[in-house]
């Protein structure tokens, strides 16, 4: 047997070091484990401070002893390489392992073992753990806000239908793929709006907007047959003409009265709330802020000075102020800017405010992508005789947008995380509902459960979104 030098373990006495090291390390973990799970103190015979630090010291020595380079044992090498490269790392690793073992029992007992799952009143929650009965009782409110219970199927139905319609893109065949952008940018938002308006809100079948939508649909259909040379002027003039024709010539007042049939009970937006409101707000803001941001970014890079400076001013203004002041503006200042008889629903105001706010961020992200493209792309497109719009739609934007997928995903994530702020105008989505439930005299003292629940919900949504954007990024990554 070679001489053992415990200060520098080497390969010659591999097993002596290995066994002593592993046993010391296991001992230290055992001490902490027993202490935290069964509150057994193996080292109580030692004075306080020493017994407190003993597991750390033993574990450290154990890790030091098994730190043998090129031991030839695969498992040992992996451990050494990953958590045990030097003394400093060893101490940190041990501390982390201990912290995990120490924090598991209280967490487990709060979340599961001592928690109350059954029951529907505060009295059911007597244990020291979490009161999940509280979440269970309030679950409906957290999801749908003050929306009448009997009508909640309307929200479910709309969401399922919209999710299905949104998923259509995945099943599209090659033949229809080229219309997908049109579908998602124009048709889908209109369908979504109609769903929300008719189903969730229970609006009348005929309303001022109907003309606009009919006009838009007709003009788009006709638009397919117009030579591209006149398209710009066409889309400037025709929709407005059709709108005016529809409203003042073809449909008379009597017809409007006839059309004012309400299919469902009207639920005002103040009663909407909970997670479904989070989804509605983030969905519409997401749909609106992207095109606005796209145009702003193009405007900022435009050669036309007036458009350029207006875009810059617009972007810098929204980026410079906090969202909460924007919402304040939309709730207390904006009504001053409207004619007295004109009223815009507060949910609509909020959606417009958040969309404009986020559009400025989207614009800056897209500008980054536009700037990153080499000049050659612009020159090549121009040399093929493409005009401004053709060049951007077919050459520049597909490449630029591909580059900025992560940035846009981050902006959308920020948008979703910003939706709780709408409590400023009195709309209560899930966080707002939590605060309301917290102050209910029959359910006082369960703030923690509520916030933990909402955190988990948001974490799942945001984490899934960020993973999805990562996948998109990988999918569209092209070799350059």
């Amino acid at each position: 047997m070679n001489k053992l030098n415990f200060l520098s373990p080497d390969k010659n006495n591999l097993y002596a070091y290995l066994y002593s090291g592993i046993s010391l390390f296991s001992l230290s973990i055992l001490i902490v484990f027993l202490n935290s799970f069964f509150s057994l103190d193996l080292t109580s015979f030692l004075p306080g401070t020493i017994s407190y630090f003993l597991p750390l010291i033993i574990g450290f020595i154990g890790l030091h002893l098994i730190r043998i380079e090129y031991s030839g044992i695969k498992f040992l090498d992996i451990i050494n390489k990953n958590i045990n490269t030097n003394n400093f790392n060893a101490v940190l690793s041990i501390l982390i392992i201990f912290a995990v073992i120490k924090s598991l029992p209280p967490l487990l007992s709060w979340f599961i073992i001592d928690a109350n799952f059954a029951g529907d009143s505060k009295d059911a929650c007597s244990g020291s753990g979490a009161c999940w009965a509280y979440i269970k009782t309030w679950f409906n409110r957290f999801m749908y806000g003050m929306y009448p219970n009997a009508e909640q199927w309307r929200i479910n139905l709309s969401f399922i239908a919209l999710a299905f319609l949104g998923g259509v893109g995945f099943f599209a065949t090659e033949k229809f793929k080229k219309y997908l952008t049109l579908y998602y940018v124009v048709v889908y938002p209109i369908i979504a709006f109609l769903f929300i308006f008719f189903f969730i809100s229970g609006g009348p079948i005929f309303f001022d907007f109907s003309y606009g939508i009919i006009a838009a649909v007709i003009s788009i259909v006709i638009g397919f047959f117009i030579p591209s040379k006149f398209k710009m002027y066409y889309f400037l003039i025709i929709p407005i003409t059709i709108y005016i024709l529809l409203k003042y010539v073809f449909f008379y007042e009597e017809l409007i009265e006839l059309g004012k049939i309400q299919a469902f009970e009207w639920v005002e937006t103040g009663a909407w709330g909970g997670l479904s409101l989070t989804f509605i707000v983030s969905f519409f803001c997401l749909i609106f802020c992207f095109p606005v941001g796209l145009f702003l970014s193009l405007g900022r890079r435009s050669d036309l000075p007036i458009i350029k400076y207006i875009s810059i001013g617009f972007i810098e203004f929204w980026r410079g102020v906090p969202l909460i002041t924007v919402l304040f503006m939309s709730s207390v200042m904006f009504p001053m800017f409207l004619p007295e008889d004109m009223f815009i629903d507060k949910l609509v105001r909020v959606i417009i405010a958040i969309s404009l706010f986020e559009a400025a961020y989207v614009a800056e992200v897209i500008r980054g992508g536009l700037q990153a493209l080499p000049r050659g792309q612009y020159d090549a497109a121009k040399s093929l005789g493409m005009g401004y719009w053709k060049m951007h739609i077919f050459v520049i934007l597909p490449q630029a947008l591909k580059l900025v997928i992560p940035g846009i995903a981050n902006t959308f994530l920020a948008l979703v995380k910003d939706t709780p702020l709408i409590f400023v105008v009195g709309l209560l989505e899930i966080v707002g509902m939590l605060n309301l439930a917290k102050t209910n005299p029959e359910w006082l003292g369960f703030a923690m459960e509520g916030y933990v629940f909402a955190s988990i919900v948001f974490f799942i949504i945001c984490y899934a979104m960020s993973k999805y954007s990562y996948n998109l990024e990988q999918k569209y990554k092209t070799e350059r």
């Binding site: 410079g320 102020v321 909460i324 207390v332 001053m336 979703v416 966080v431 703030a447």
Partner: protein, 381 residues
């Protein structure tokens, strides 16, 4: 100039002018109907409301402008605290993300993923309504190190009582200026002669010696006042003396720094990873020690990548501090755009002042950042 270029510009201009004209016309009509005139004269009127927590002397008899200052200072206070802690946590976590130790890297990654995927408002509520409410009452609080008291009513810490504080502050400023010159000198010396000066040691020395001199020669004098428990009524206790940090401030600063730190950590990680491996190898091959490699080659290049997005995060933190309104920390939004607006009803004036304040702040910083970016950008020949 051809028609195709002028038409869209003209159209945009007309639309913008129309929209603004529409809005301002309506605003005028509405204000006339309500009998209010536009103007900032109300700023000098007596505010007659109280603010819970203020850095400057303030009560109801002061003007609305003073209330604005109180809010602004509170915003700046929480932002500065948040920025300091977010930077410390962010740098530590960002470096931990690069660690070769699997456990450390995972822990840091879990922290980042967790805290940045939860809305900031929810975190603020969590700390304020759930976590800090679990703290003990003042009479039951255990002292930390005998002088700090963390209670449900706030964090009580010892305060310094100064004599001739201004001289002390001047000495600190003098030390900072001196450090600035030492750094410039050492940089020049290194560029000319290639020799290193121990800048860090000299800086620390200066920071200690000059204020110390102010104690010995300038007549500066400081004593420490420790908070002492005091009974207000039969069941109500509080601490007297020392400084009190209200729970609103603590939870806001905590949430802001933990949230922003995740973004700063990612900036730091990206910055250090952005320095190509060849740079480190090249530096090592010309015989620099690992410390020198880090200090002279890696850090200057990494900082160039780290600083712009990090400043952006500082700006975000400052803007996010306006969420204070949700937990009644008296910041600019709550004091001015909340209470003052409710009292005066001057929505346009107050919201515009509040927005302009934030706008000025961010535009100043972004102009400074553009200048700084230009200065540190690699000058290509």
């Amino acid at each position: 100039m051809n028609f195709k270029k002028i038409l869209p510009q003209l159209l945009t201009l007309v639309v913008v002018i129309l929209v603004f004209g529409f809005f301002s016309y309506n605003a005028q009509v509405n204000m006339e109907n309500r009998g209010i005139t536009f103007g900032y004269g109300f700023l000098t009127q007596e505010s007659s409301f109280d603010v819970q927590f203020s850095l400057i002397e303030y009560d109801g008899s002061h003007s609305y402008f003073r209330a604005y200052l109180v809010g602004l200072l509170n915003t700046i206070l929480v932002s500065v605290i948040g920025i300091i802690f977010a930077t410390i946590i962010g740098v530590v976590v960002g470096i931990a993300r690069l660690s070769s130790n699997y456990l450390i890297e995972r822990t840091a990654a879990i922290y980042v993923e967790f805290f940045r995927n939860i809305p900031l408002l929810l975190q603020i509520f969590f700390w304020y309504f759930a976590a800090l409410r679990a703290l003990p009452l003042p009479e039951k609080a255990e002292p930390m190190f005998g002088v700090f008291f963390l209670t449900i009513k706030g964090f009580f810490i010892p305060a310094f009582i100064w004599n001739n504080l201004d001289i002390f502050i001047y000495s600190v400023i003098a030390a900072i200026i001196a450090i600035f010159f030492v750094r410039a000198y050492s940089k020049k010396k290194q560029e000319n002669q290639g020799t290193q000066t121990p800048v860090l040691l000299i800086s620390i020395g200066l920071l200690i010696i000059l204020p110390l001199l102010s104690f010995l020669l300038g007549g500066v004098d400081a004593s420490i006042e420790i908070p002492v428990i005091e009974q207000l009524s039969k069941t109500s206790f509080t601490y007297k003396g020392g400084l009190k940090l209200p729970p609103e401030l603590i939870s806001l600063a905590l949430a802001l720094s933990l949230y922003t730190a995740t973004f700063i950590a990612e900036c730091v990680r990206a910055g250090v990873q952005g320095v190509s491996k060849g740079q480190k190898e090249a530096a090592a091959s010309i015989g620099l020690t690992p410390n020198q490699v880090l200090k002279l080659v890696v850090m200057p290049q990494a900082l160039r990548i780290i600083i712009p997005p990090t400043t952006n995060q500082y700006l975000n933190l400052t803007k996010n501090s306006s969420l204070a309104a949700a937990i009644a920390y008296p910041d600019l939004v709550l004091v001015f755009a909340g209470t003052a607006l409710m009292q005066t009803g001057r929505a346009i004036e107050i919201v515009s002042i509040t927005m302009l304040t934030y706008l000025t702040l961010s535009i100043t910083i972004s102009i400074f950042m553009n200048w700084y970016n230009k200065k540190i950008a690699i000058k290509e020949k």
